[in-house]
């Protein structure tokens, strides 16, 4: 699998480290219920299809990327720098 880093160009996946889902929102720590925190920490979607996920380009530019990947065939639809995505206050 190759990931096209927005800074470095197409690179082999072994240059990257996978983190996981990109769009988790951490609940407000003190206010959240135990169930909500458990969901945030442990519960993950496991989609057969499009998945937005974080990858770290550790052997390259050291940037975090948000990769939109189809989990069925590894087709990558989009790659953006995590820094440049719009995030909410609780992200």
């Amino acid at each position: 699998m190759r990931i096209t880093c927005p800074h470095c160009g197409a690179r082999d996946a072994q240059e990257f480290t996978y983190l996981g889902a990109a769009d988790l929102k951490r609940p407000d720590g003190m206010a959240a219920t135990e169930a909500a925190m458990t969901d945030y920490v442990y519960q993950r979607e496991n989609p057969a299809g499009t998945h937005r996920e974080l990858w770290y380009h550790g052997a390259g530019c050291h940037a975090w990327l948000v990769v939109t990947r189809d989990t069925r065939n590894h087709a990558i639809a989009a790659v953006e720098a995590a820094k440049s995505r719009k995030t909410g206050a609780a992200a």
Binding site: C8, R11, A59
Partner: protein, 215 residues
């Protein structure tokens, strides 16, 4: 009053180049003409520049005013009279000076615009050329270094044999493409082990570049 002892406990500290004890001039591998030429580089000044948030244009302006080179916004190297600005990630660069003379003063001028850190002794650098240089690099670099894909002045951050490297292409020499590679000093031994094993079949001549200016 007792005589003050004058026994010297001073240790003689001498700077060691990054390749000391690892690589030395000579030749190895196949005989009958060197397919790969390696030039060990030493004595240069090197610093990482990381622009403070929003300060990249200001940093670039001061580098341009001082050295006549703009900080590249893409993976490129920009070379001036005695300095190179080498892209090293978004809003990050390496600044290399041919000599360490006055380098600390230059860095002090840049420091207000970001994180500036002298790395002169932290990297080992080698220039590679020769008719088989791309065959050699193909054994370790996952990128296409063909002139059509990797132009003169292009820079890449990647890895060779699990060692993080920065590689760029200089103007062609008599034998074609010329590359420079920078590796973390602590990994220079590992890199050199890969290099000697990989270059042996092509025959390799190793030289040391003359050191410019005082260390």
């Amino acid at each position: 009053m007792a005589e003050i002892a004058t026994v010297s406990t001073a240790v003689s500290w001498a700077p060691r180049g990054a390749w000391a004890g690892i690589a030395q001039p000579g030749s190895f591998g196949a005989t009958g003409g060197a397919g790969v030429l390696a030039t060990l580089l030493d004595g240069f000044g090197l610093a990482t520049l990381i622009a403070a948030p929003g300060a990249a244009p200001a940093l670039s302006r001061i580098v341009e005013a001082r050295l006549g080179i703009a900080l590249p916004q893409a993976p490129k190297i920009a070379s001036g009279q005695a300095h190179d600005a080498i892209w090293a990630g978004p809003d990050q660069w390496l600044l290399r000076a041919a000599s360490r003379d006055g380098f600390a003063g230059l860095l002090a001028e840049l420091a207000p615009h970001g994180a500036v850190s002298d790395q002169s002794d932290a990297r080992a650098a080698v220039r590679l050329s020769g008719p088989r240089v791309r065959d050699l690099l193909a054994k370790g670099v996952m990128l296409d270094l063909h002139p059509a894909a990797f132009a003169v002045g292009d820079v890449a951050l990647t890895s060779i044999a699990h060692v993080g490297v920065q590689i760029w292409r200089l103007a062609d020499g008599p034998d074609g493409s010329v590359f420079e590679i920078l590796v973390p000093r602590s990994m220079a031994g590992s890199f050199w082990a890969w290099f000697t094993a990989s270059a042996a079949e092509f025959g390799c001549a190793v030289t040391a570049a003359p050191v410019a200016g005082p260390r």
